[in-house]
């Protein structure tokens, strides 16, 4: 009786020891995996800024499979909450962390200082550290191509642009779009309406309606919802999407969309981290790096326009064409850069004026 009990107990004990051993072995195996953290500013959803980043995350998961363990945190507000989330990710052993919104810059920097062995990559900012790099895309290159499409398809010679806030990134887009359209129709007019919000479908809709009522027959947007595409579809006008392919929201209206692609960048960074060769970079990629592209053109776009867009795309990728190549003349008629030169990256990143051809006035 006693003996059996003892035996059973010993068996149990052995079982526990074995199980613990397995657990330790298991976690040791997990340690070999590279743990990666992604911080998103909004829900992933079906289109938009975060959705594009998540496509990149999926590409990493597919490429590296068992070698990596990825954790994503959605809807993290910019500010104090972001610091807590990023710190949490670093503390729980994630070795490379991608912070995918501008407002995460200072929180990321703070956490990076506290975790020198963790690599941090921050999107669209300008600060770097020993273990913090930043990455951004030349969205304006895609805007230039979209401008060629819009200019070609416009009958009224008026284009409309629904914009969020007058910061350089948005102004780059408006100016490049205008300059792209001017290559097709030199006297085209671009009207801009600011909604002073990144996301408010109701107001975006109202702004789009106002632009179409004022004669714009191709509209585009630098806001986060799909309301502008839906508005154009309803009024039988054309629209150009942003972030993601938005054609399902307006199959007839949607000419194309300027899309972002982070897949290759994320794969490269993760590979570098696995190889122990990660270094903080300051990357501003464009069409050449496949970070920016256009989604498939609508069937309504004729062949000669497609050829023009292809040619411009190839020229930008080859470095022969610069969307802000001289002469760049601003709205007031001042020449910002003479023929033969172009705006420098520094000048592009600080742009604070409209180019000639934009008829609205810039809020000061």
């Amino acid at each position: 009786m006693y003996n059996t009990t003892l035996k059973t107990r010993l068996k149990h004990l052995a079982g526990i020891v074995l199980a613990t051993g397995l657990l330790i072995a298991g976690s040791a195996q997990a340690e070999d995996k590279l743990k990666i953290g992604f911080v998103y500013v909004s829900p992933i959803g079906d289109a938009g800024w975060t959705y594009q980043h998540d496509l990149g995350r999926k590409a990493v998961a597919e490429k590296f499979g068992d070698q990596v363990e990825i954790k994503t945190i959605e809807s993290v507000p910019e500010g104090a909450e972001a610091e807590r989330v990023i710190r949490d990710l670093a503390a729980s052993g994630n070795k490379i962390i991608f912070a995918t919104s501008f407002g995460y810059m200072n929180p990321t920097l703070k956490v990076a200082k506290a975790f020198p062995d963790t690599d941090f990559d921050h999107a669209t900012g300008y600060k770097t550290a020993e273990n913090m790099g930043n990455y951004n895309a030349r969205f304006y290159e895609g805007r230039y191509l979209a401008g060629i499409v819009a200019g070609s398809m416009s009958q009224s010679n008026v284009l409309g642009y629904v914009a969020a806030f007058p910061i350089p990134e948005v102004l780059q887009g408006i100016n490049a779009f205008t300059r792209g359209a001017q290559t097709v129709k030199p006297d085209i007019e671009v009207k801009v309406v600011w909604v002073n919000s990144w996301f408010d479908p109701g107001r975006e809709r109202e702004a789009a309606d106002a632009l179409m009522d004022q004669g714009a027959d191709v509209i585009t947007h630098h806001t986060d919802s799909t309301a502008v595409i839906a508005a154009a579809e309803e009024k039988g006008k054309y629209a150009i999407g942003y972030h993601s392919d938005m054609s399902k929201y307006g199959p007839k209206a949607h000419l194309t969309a300027v899309t972002h692609h982070w897949d290759q960048y994320y794969i490269d960074q993760v590979q570098a981290a696995i190889d122990g060769k990660w270094e903080p970079g300051a990357i501003w990629g464009g069409i050449k790096d496949s970070m920016i592209d256009l989604s498939p053109l609508n069937d309504a776009v004729p062949e000669d326009v497609r050829k023009k867009v292809e040619a411009a795309k190839a020229a930008i990728a080859a470095g022969e064409l610069q969307p802000f190549g001289g002469p760049v003349v601003d709205q007031a008629g001042t020449e910002r850069v003479a023929e033969g030169a172009g705006l420098s990256d520094e000048e592009i990143s600080k742009i604070d004026y409209y180019v000639k051809g934009v008829s609205s006035k810039l809020p000061k």
Binding site: G202, A207, S360
Partner: protein, 309 residues
């Protein structure tokens, strides 16, 4: 500005105002009964997502509108149970309802963010709808616009020309007296709260089903709070609520047109204009302290205990 543009602006104004008209008129009835429900934004957005889901699934816009109203009422029922049956604090419960509604709608609507709807066709009234100027302005809207205007008329008549309206106002002024006269104060307040929920729900449904038409998280973007403010600034009078909503919508639309024409005014200032103009006008027309006291429900926000009466 040519007359055509003016008509375009006015037509767009009506659409922009409809969600506010529904939500604010509903809240007006709630507050007239002496209850302050700060959950309008939450009820609106739950109405928006519920209507959108039902219409996507069934293909029927009217079922969607009905679902919006029912969803708004269910939200209001939660609020009513907390504040009227359990005597919880109305301000806190209303705020909680808004936060809950925003989260709930985001969760429920997760798989519907990519769905598309065709919207509601305007109700083309023959002959009248083809008249110049007046036609597009008054007789060529979608049916919900007429429902909003009808609600306004019905509520005005109900409040000031019906016995039931008188009882409702009595409950809001002095629940103890109403109770002493034999009126079921709590039940009447429940009715008012449920009606307010249905109206807020339809207001949200209009946004997702007709106006944009799409569903995305947080799409009401503060319109519920504007509706709440309209009721107060309109000193609890239906016509001024309607006027305030139209004014707010009108200035919102007009400022987009002004931007498009290239006037040199900062857009941040223009974005502020709808709020500024609405508050200014409503405060100016109702600046007489005596009339405000007359129209404000005296027991607004105070819970009613039967034993205390």
């Amino acid at each position: 500005m040519n007359p055509d543009t003016l008509i375009l602006i006015l037509v767009a104004t009506i659409g922009a105002s409809v969600p506010l008209i529904f939500a604010a008129l509903g809240e007006l009835i709630v507050e007239k009964s002496g209850v302050l429900n700060l959950g309008v934004e939450g009820m609106m957005i739950v109405g928006a997502v519920s209507g959108f889901i039902i219409t996507t699934e069934t293909g029927s816009l009217w079922l969607g509108v009905l679902a919006s109203a029912v969803a708004g009422m269910l939200m209001a029922l939660i609020f009513g149970f907390l504040t009227l049956s359990l005597m919880a604090n109305q301000v806190a419960s209303g705020l909680a309802l808004t936060i809950f509604g925003i989260g709930l709608s985001a969760f429920v609507g997760l798989s519907y963010t990519s769905a598309t709807l065709s919207g509601m066709q305007p109700l083309a009234i023959p002959v009248l709808g083809e008249l110049p100027i007046i036609g597009p302005l008054l007789f060529a809207h979608d049916p919900l616009v007429y429902l909003a205007l009808f609600s306004f008329a019905a509520i005005s008549v109900f409040l000031y020309h019906s016995r039931a309206g008188l009882i409702l106002r009595a409950v809001g002024e002095s629940p103890a007296s109403a109770h002493a006269l034999g009126y079921p104060v709590i039940r009447i307040r429940y009715y008012a709260v449920l009606f307010g929920g249905a109206m807020a729900g339809i207001g949200g449904g209009y946004l997702s089903l007709v106006y944009t038409p799409l569903w995305s998280e947080g799409m009401t973007a503060g319109r519920g709070w504007i509706a709440l403010a309209l009721v107060v600034f309109a000193t609890w009078r239906p016509f001024r609520v309607l006027l305030g909503a139209l004014l707010f919508g009108g200035v919102t639309i007009a400022q987009f047109h002004i931007q498009g024409t290239g006037v040199e005014v900062p857009s941040q200032f223009l974005s502020m204009l709808p709020y500024l103009a609405t508050i200014l006008v409503l405060v100016l027309i109702s600046r007489d302290a005596g009339t405000i006291r007359m129209h404000a429900p005296a027991s607004l926000g105070k819970p009613f205990h039967r034993e205390a009466g």
